[in-house]
């Protein structure tokens, strides 16, 4: 018995090692060096910005996009002469999408001498880190941490909409534009992003001129078959299905709805961005899908075009909205730092106080919104953009 236990324990432990190895395999394209110090910079006149996000594990795709976009933006800024003449040094730490590891990453960046934090990428770790930045009075700007608590202190700001913000905005948009009278919702109850949006959507829906006729959840473990949820939506007579979820599941829902002959209007949030790039997905099925997103990679304005081509050239990949939020985040920090007159020899706390005031004074035109402004509570004020998919391309509505 004892022998068996020892043997099994050893096998289990080895399989764990193997699992962590395969986890690493998925990030093979991550070749850019983290340290993007400009050669000319000396210790006295560099501004150190840290970034935190998952670059290994299940959420690595978001962290990598953020890391790449931030490095791209920092490189551009340094080539153009830096912030207030200071070169920017950027360092990115992995948090494996785990609150505990995220705090470790933050502490290790502090040891490195970070003066401002651009992160974290995902909401749950962000909520843990904001506690620490608040203690240290460190300026924090998250590109994509969308939970309400992620920026609950006055030293933290964000670029994206909050989860509730997206839910409320979606419900308002549907109600005000009279897009539907009966709405069904399919959401991921095991995901903070998805359930957060759904909760606020359902609350706001009560004030709007449409009815939520069915709300069906799925979880991480059951995200391949949606026929039950779709059948319920169909039986309830919904003429619109609201999908506050990520694009991978959405592509399956669209395919399955098509095969059962159910053709409502589909409406989603920024998680649907990327839908058209899903492999083996018939983009015709996405025709007429509406989504509320701050960024579409094939929009034809000059800024987006320039960013997408630069990103593609550097990393061989189409940027998603995480990348766009990050690119904006770095430039927003630049704008605020210039406004506040931040210099490299200021203490972390002084920088934070100066940046806090400057953030509420600036107005920024970026990839994810025109004329973005911030209130002292850290929420961005920008108009939600709705796009509709027509003939395999995003068209502004």
């Amino acid at each position: 018995m004892k022998k068996f236990t020892r043997f099994f324990a050893t096998v289990a432990a080895v399989s764990m090692v193997a699992a962590s190895l395969t986890g690493c395999g998925s990030k093979s394209d991550n070749t850019a060096s983290t340290d993007t110090t400009a050669d000319s910079a000396t210790a006295g006149d560099t501004l150190k910005i840290g970034g935190i996000g998952p670059i290994t594990g299940g959420a690595a795709v978001y962290g990598l996009a953020v890391k790449n976009a931030a490095e791209l933006a920092v490189k551009e800024i340094n080539e153009a002469g830096g912030i207030n003449g200071m070169q920017v040094e950027f360092k990115f730490e992995d948090d494996e999408h785990d609150a505990e590891k995220s705090v470790n990453a933050y502490n290790s960046l502090k040891d490195w001498g970070m003066q401002m934090l651009m992160g974290t990428v995902t909401s749950t770790p962000c909520t843990a880190v904001v506690e620490k930045t608040h203690e240290d009075n460190m300026f924090q700007l998250t590109p994509s941490g969308s939970a309400v608590e992620s920026i609950k202190y006055d030293n933290a700001f964000r670029v994206c909409f909050s989860d509730p913000g997206q839910g409320t905005a979606s419900a308002k948009y549907i109600g005000e534009n009279k897009l539907a009278s009966k709405v069904a919702v399919i959401y991921n109850s095991s995901d903070v992003y998805s359930s957060g949006i759904y909760q606020k959507f359902a609350e706001e829906a009560k004030n709007q001129d449409f009815e939520v006729v069915s709300a069906e959840a799925f979880t991480e473990d059951s995200k391949t078959d949606f026929s039950v949820q779709l059948q319920k939506a169909k039986d309830a007579g919904a003429d619109m299905v609201f999908l506050p979820i990520y694009y991978t599941e959405a592509s399956l829902i669209l395919t399955q709805a098509n095969s059962m002959g159910y053709a409502p209007t589909f409406f989603g949030c920024d998680g649907l961005d990327g839908l058209l790039a899903v492999k083996n997905f018939d983009t015709k099925l996405a025709d007429g899908v509406m989504l509320l997103t701050p960024f579409a990679a094939d929009a034809d304005d000059e800024k987006t075009q320039a960013f997408v081509s630069a990103y593609k050239e550097a990393y061989g990949d189409t940027p998603n909205q995480f990348a766009a939020d990050t690119y904006d985040a770095i430039y927003i920090m630049k704008a605020a730092a210039e406004k506040a007159g931040v210099t490299a020899d200021m203490s972390v706390s002084d920088i934070c106080d100066a940046m806090k005031t400057a953030m509420t004074e600036i107005s920024y035109d970026g990839l994810t919104g025109e004329g973005m402004t911030w209130t002292a509570d850290g929420e961005p004020d920008k108009a939600p953009k709705a796009v509709v998919i027509k003939d395999g391309a995003y068209v502004a509505m």
């Binding site: 080895v14 764990m16 502490n107 608590e149």
Partner: protein, 356 residues
């Protein structure tokens, strides 16, 4: 001098306590001298958490000889029940008292779950037991993910559907389904962590060296013989299992009060975490309390200290795990260790001297 002659186990135990106390003194001295990095400072409490987890799992795997793969589940129960308590009573009593009560509640509820799960599960043995504990760990995690509990002027509201069906009248949603609990007060400190590690060690080491402990080990070594001399197998199995669960619950309390956010993700309370704790126990040498402790510290520090390697961090970590496993367990390595062990070499030299 006769008084100082201790028996071997007492000496061994004292060395184990000594290591913890020495580590504490060194760290405190370095903290006072400001010689410790922020990264290390942030790691101190998690280190205590993982040491407690490893020592408590060692009780089931090493002493009882049953493989439990659901240890993270008990940690999860302890974490959530105590965080829930702390959120409800924040501001109603002094912080120290509240945290003390939270610790007791976390341990008690985890022990209760240990009992509930232990009664059916301990009738199984070997791989069946491993699989069922694994399933229970996952059930606990998934259950927590569908709980919605809110508190307002009318009392508590409970739902397993979503936050809207709580029908709250203002008030706070305390457990918000997959979003978990946010804003748990930050009570865990390194000193409390070390005290808890010491208490854990006292409990586990005393149990091992007691009559009950010997009964538990006899079940491990030969169940039939143990039964034939009248040892109540179920009772002793449950005893080890429940104590282990309660200690894991304490680790959960410490974990929950160290971070502002608590969510039941596969990463922190799922199968991976259970296996991670098992890895501590296996690499530390199954059955060795001190070994589990040291392995937990080394393996928690390693990925953080390797941050300088950037992209290769997790790869190196995995390789180190494999190498450590081989050195610890492969028969050839054991043979080599035996041959070149300092003790043997000394003995050889002595022999040679005497021969002269």
């Amino acid at each position: 001098m006769k008084k100082l002659k201790l028996n071997k186990t007492t000496k061994n135990n004292l060395i184990t306590y000594g290591i913890v106390i020495l580590a504490y003194i060194i760290v405190e001295a370095m903290l006072a001298g400001g010689q410790i990095s922020s990264l290390m400072k942030g790691l101190l409490v998690p280190l205590c958490v993982y040491v407690i987890l490893a020592v408590s799992l060692n009780l089931v795997v090493g002493i009882l000889g049953e493989l439990s793969l659901g240890h993270a589940g008990f940690m999860c129960v302890g974490a959530f029940s105590s965080a829930f308590f702390s959120k409800c009573t924040a501001g109603m009593m002094p912080d120290g008292l509240r945290f003390f009560l939270a610790l007791l509640i976390g341990a008690a509820i985890a022990a209760l779950f240990g009992l509930i799960i232990g009664i059916p599960v301990l009738r199984l043995k070997g791989d069946y037991l491993a699989i069922v504990t694994l399933a229970f760990g996952e059930i606990i995690k998934n259950l927590i993910n569908v709980f919605f509990i809110g508190k307002d002027a009318n009392g508590f509201h409970f739902s397993m559907k979503d936050a809207m069906s709580l029908n709250m009248d203002g008030g706070d949603v305390i457990i918000n389904g997959p979003q978990g609990i946010t804003g748990t007060p930050n009570d865990s400190t390194f000193t409390i962590g070390v005290i808890l590690v010491l208490i854990t060690l006292v409990i586990v080491l005393h149990l091992i060296n007691s009559r009950d402990g010997r009964a538990i080990m006899s079940i491990r070594d030969n169940r039939i013989a143990a039964e034939s001399v009248g040892i109540n197998i179920t009772k002793y199995k449950l005893m080890a299992f429940i104590i282990s669960a309660a200690l894991a619950g304490v680790a959960g309390v410490l974990y929950a009060h160290n971070l502002a956010t608590l969510t039941a993700l596969p990463k922190n309370f799922g199968y991976n975490q259970s296996i991670m704790i098992l890895v501590f126990v296996v690499l530390g040498g199954i059955g060795s309390t001190r070994g589990s402790m040291i392995a937990a510290v080394v393996l928690t520090l390693l990925p953080e200290l390797l941050r300088g390697l950037n992209d290769y961090r997790m790869l190196i970590y995995a390789i180190v795990l494999i190498v450590m496993m081989l050195l610890n367990w492969s028969p050839k390595a054991l043979e080599m260790r035996e041959r070149y062990s300092p003790k043997r070499l000394l003995a050889k030299r002595k022999e040679a001297k005497e021969a002269k």
